[in-house]
Structure formats: structure tokens, C-alpha cells
Symmetry: C2
Subunit: 355 residues, 2 copies
């Protein structure tokens, strides 16, 4: 019995699960995991479902995927076109969830060479406080322990190793209000922000070699806001800067660096909105090396932040490997195809010893 | 019989008249002007009241004041402190309206040497489309004709000559969205606005001599807006620039100049939000020269835009002269005192031949 992964992905896409509304899809995957039978022990915490083998193997592989999607972009309903499924969540990441559910079914029939934990969680596409994996590490850390974590984020057939850290800071510039016909009576806060904008625009982001992978960093202004009325010299301007940094530096180093960058450009205050650690590629880890080496998978660095950093922060080696094109995630063109789903399942089943 | 100008100003301040709600104060001033008797012919159009003598004098003086105020700033109710009246509208410009109403009363008792038109109008503190004087010039231009217009905007005892023009443009910068972890896939519209901000911040505004008055120009960013989400390279940034220019140049020249300024800094589109002509100081005009010369009034240029420019655009020489400190207009500290009100009334009565 083989699972039709494209049909299963479509069924999962038929259950809306924009962040904050994951109960229905959590119910669906929980029911499916419980139906696997005695080989899997299933736990539910909030809209997070964890299914584990308990075979007392010496190593445990955690396979994870988030249940939520970003809001629809005119693509709320999945659409089949031959062996391609289009629509919200197809690549990010209900295709990956379908692979996990099919792998669970295999675990009901055969014993793997590692213990396996499947983690399907809520709230990945929104602020960290809503992240289900964060909740599990906090409330039930034993459930998510392992020797290697693989996140089925779309990677287009590559292993995307580690991930860059991400930091958002809000740099504030103060001024003094005045009538705009007499600006010398005041101080223009937007004008005071000009050097920071110039500095960001001309910033020469580094390409950092970590384990022979090129992590291309970034520093971007993602928001700017200032102004009170059209006849008033503004007394406040805020600039949100997003820094992406390679896993060669600690979070503290990277935060200090971006705060100093804004201060040196004249910011009066710099608030760290959020700051997420980077994850090292860990290519020397024996399990990651085996995953890559045995199947001769291509490897590239992960530039965006993913929950591999959360596993890394808890001392668990982790990488991204899942079906779908990462460049299409969060776009109206999001899609996944049958061969990619089947290939991902086949490789993961082989890796954990189910084939 | 003399009018208690401070009490009358207080009574006018007791009638709320934030722009858009001037009906009640228009009713009150209309009733008061009609009570003057046969010497004044009173017309009402919307919340605009015009009272005119018809003495067939060879010259006519128009005295104007707006009925509306900006929104309260914790100062909605007037407060007496001896001979000082504090509160919204005291200086800008119910003190001036009180002077106009007292002068109307004098016109009921004596004949002036000029014909006199009093114009009390709505909608000065908001967008030009709501300006009552604009409506009068459009619908009943004969009512607002004259040889000299004096606006009783607060000038602190000075004649404020002419006024600078004001232009607002919105400069738009386009980009291409991308994930902020891969900014090289897109173009950051906020970064593209950096040169315009730098150019505005370092702009060396000229001081222009017109009729030996120093018009100090200005160019300020008054608003900036950009950004979609904290993980997205923004594809749009807009910058509102306010240009204040001396009455040495035409509106068309000044508009072309600021549009070119934004274009040269890389703006993709520049929208003219509004553009108001400047008014020349007209110090050689015989009536303005007489007003200044006979009473030895100090003269300075008006840097902010006022409706004198509207009169000037209709070929009517105009200046600002009214009670109250212009620097306190629109502030929580707005106030006017008795001696200033009495002095303004005395001078205007003398000028038009009522004393």
C-alpha cells in the first residue's frame, strides 16, 4: 500500500490553517497518526501533535513540519494540474506534512533503524511567541529530543544546512516640532535618519564561509515611518532594520553589531524587536554527513531563518530538507509536484531504515 | 461706547469652531453685523459673512479673518488671567475677529474715509478646497474686491508683508519585493529614497531679498512611509517634501524646481499635492506704504503662507496685521492680551478714518 502523496497534500490544503487557526488540521493529522496503531505513541499539546516510536534505539531522528500557512494570496483553494498541485501551503509545507504522514504509515508496518519522532506544530509563520515548537521545548522538552532534526521546509531537493540568524531593530530618531515654514525653530527627525538610510543602502554585506558553505549576509531597512502633518517639522522617525547574519557569530555579537551600526548613524534609541540565533551547518555531524553522503545530496546554506536554529539552540543538530521550491514559498505561484514528494519520502524512509 | 475686546474675544472663543463646524460662530457674527444697522450691507454664503459699506469712496479696504480654529490642544475653553486670555483661537484668530466686530460697530456710528469690507470666513486651517475665501472669490467675486486687503492673522504688532509660497510634493520610489534574507533578488525602495533624504537634510535654503525684506526659504521632508512586513524587502517608499519659496519666483518656476530636485535624487514619480503662490510684499503700494509709514509700524516678511497670497493672485495688494503672537498659534500656549487688541483696533480705525 503506497500513499498518493499529491492527493494527501491536496486534502491537507483543503483544510484552511492560516496561523492561529490550526485546530482543524491538528485534529486531522492527530486522527491519522493515532490510526497508525501501537508502533506510534501520539501526544497532543495545543495544536501540536507529536508521534514517537519507542524502540529503544541508540539514536533518534526528529522529523518536523509546521501546520500553519501564511494568509492566502488569491490561492486559498488547491488546484491540480496533472501531477502538479498549486495553491497556498502546497510547498510551505503541506507537501512536507504529507511525507511525514506517509512515513508514519510506514512506521506502522515496519521497524526503523533509528527511533523516530514526528512533530507537527502550529504558529511557525508568525511571531516567535506563537511558535508551537517553542511551546513544546518549554512544556514537554522530552517529546522533542533527538540526535538529529530534519525540518521538511521546502528546499528543492537540496539539504539546506544550518540557517542564518535574524535580528530586527527599531532605530528611533528624535527631533523638535516646528512649523515647516520656520524649520530652524525645530529639528527634523526624518532628516536626522538620512545617514542611517545612506549607510544601509551602501552596506556591503559579507559572504561568510562556514564549513565551506557561503552564507551571504544581509542588512535591509524594511520599514520607515515619520511625520505628523504636512506643515509640521516632524519630531520622530523610526526605521526598522533587518539583519541576517551567518552562523559564524553568536547572537549577542550580532545584536551588539547592529545596535552599534544604528547608533553610529545617529539613532537616539535602538530597540531590539526580535533576535534569533543562527544555526551552524554541522556538516561534520555523523548523521548529517550520512544523510548527505549516502544519497549524494547537494548542500547549500539556508539564508532564511528556520526552526533548525531552535533545535541547534537546544543542542540538537538540524538541517532543512523537504519538497518544494523555497523561492515559491509565500508567493501566489506556490506549488509542488508528485515526483518531488515521492522522492523526498523515499529518501527519508531509506535513511531511517524503512526501505 | 467702547467694546471690551477681551470679553468679546472670550465670547467668540466660547463658540467652538474647529474647521468644518463654523455654522454657529458664523450665525453669531452675522447677527452682530446685522445689528450694526443701515451703514453695513451684510451677505451670507455658507459659513462666510461679508459686511460692506457702500459710500462710493474711490478706494476700498478689505479686512479679513477666518472663523475656524485648529483642533484643541488641551485648551478648548478660554481662560482669563487678568488682562490675558488663554486658549484655542485667542490669537489665531478670534482676537482679530473681535477687532473686526468692534470696527463694524464704529462703522455704524461714523463714516470712514475708505469704503470698508469685512470678510469673516470658514475653512482656513484645512485643505484649500474648504477655504471660504476661495469660495467667495469663485462665487461672488464682487463681494471681496478692494484696493488693499489686510488679514488680521496674528503678527505680534508687525506688518507681515507678502507671504512665501508653499508646495507639497510626494516623491515615490519603486522597488521589487523579495524575502529580506535574499535582498539581492529584489530592490529596496526605502534604500532608493536615501539620496533624496540626504539631499533634503543637507539642503542649503536661500535667504532671498525682496523689497529689502529677507525671505528665508525652506525645504523639509514632512512625511516618509515605506515597508510591507518585517521580512520583506519593500517595493514602495513615499516621501512628502514641503517647499517654502520667496515671492521672487512664480509658482510654476518653484514647482518645476522642487519636482526636478526630487527627480534628480532618483524619484520614480513626483506628485504635486498642493501648490500655493507666493505674495509679493508690495511695500511700494501707496496704501501699504501709508499703513506702515504713518504709524511707523515695523515690517518683516511673512514666511508662512496666508490668504494674502489669494488676494495677491486676484490683483489685490495685501498684508498681514493682527493681534497676537504668530509663534504661539496652534500651540497649547496660545493667548492674547487686552492692550494688543485695543492697539490693533485703534490703529485700524485711525487708518480707515474712524478716529
Amino acid at each position: 500500500m503506497t500513499t498518493d502523496l499529491l492527493a494527501l497534500t491536496e486534502a491537507l490544503c483543503d483544510i484552511p490553517s492560516v496561523s492561529g487557526t490550526e485546530e482543524a488540521i491538528a485534529d486531522a493529522v492527530e486522527a491519522r497518526l493515532r490510526a497508525v496503531g501501537p508502533n506510534l505513541r501520539v501526544e497532543r499539546i495545543g495544536a501540536n501533535v507529536v508521534a514517537r516510536t519507542e524502540l529503544a534505539r541508540d539514536r533518534r531522528i526528529v522529523l518536523g513540519g509546521h501546520l500553519d500557512t501564511v494568509p492566502p494570496n488569491g490561492n486559498a483553494s488547491p488546484r491540480r494540474d496533472g501531477d502538479v498541485l498549486h495553491g497556498l501551503g502546497t510547498a510551505d509545507m503541506k507537501g512536507g506534512l504529507a511525507v511525514l504522514l506517509a512515513l508514519a504509515a510506514s512506521l506502522g508496518r515496519r521497524e526503523p533503524r533509528f527511533d523516530v519522532t514526528l512533530v507537527l506544530y502550529e504558529g511557525e509563520e508568525v511571531a516567535d511567541e506563537f511558535n508551537g515548537l517553542r511551546r513544546l521545548f518549554s512544556e514537554a522538552p522530552a517529546l522533542v529530543q533527538g540526535d538529529l532534526a530534519i525540518l521538511l521546509e521546502p528546499t528543492g531537493g537540496w539539504v539546506e544546512a544550518g540557517c542564518q540568524g535574524t535580528i530586527h531593530v527599531r532605530a528611533g530618531f528624535d527631533g523638535v516640532r516646528a512649523h515647516s515654514a520656520r524649520p530652524w525653530m525645530g529639528t527634523n527627525a526624518i532628516h536626522r535618519a538620512a545617514p542611517l538610510l545612506a549607510r544601509c543602502a551602501s552596506f556591503d554585506a559579507a559572504v561568510v564561509d562556514v564549513d565551506s558553505l557561503d552564507y551571504r549576509e544581509a542588512l535591509q531597512v524594511v520599514r520607515i515611518e515619520g511625520g505628523i502633518a504636512n506643515n509640521v517639522v516632524p519630531d520622530r522617525c523610526t526605521v526598522v532594520v533587518n539583519r541576517r547574519y551567518a552562523p559564524s557569530r553568536s547572537l549577542d555579537e550580532a545584536v551588539a553589531e547592529v545596535v552599534a551600526f544604528c547608533r553610529e548613524a545617529g539613532a537616539d534609541d535602538v530597540e531590539v524587536i526580535n533576535a534569533s540565533t543562527a544555526a551552524p551547518p554541522n556538516l561534520m555531524n555523523p548523521l548529517i554527513a550520512e544523510l548527505i553522503g549516502v544519497y549524494d545530496l547537494p548542500v547549500r546554506p539556508k539564508l532564511g531563518w528556520t526552526d533548525v536554529a531552535r533545535f541547534a539552540a537546544h543542542g540538537i543538530a538540524a538541517c532543512n530538507f523537504g519538497p518544494g521550491d523555497p523561492e515559491l514559498a509565500h508567493t501566489a505561484d506556490e506549488r509542488v509536484d508528485r515526483i518531488t514528494l515521492d522522492a523526498c519520502l523515499g529518501l527519508l524512509e531509506a535513511f531511517v531504515g524503512l526501505r
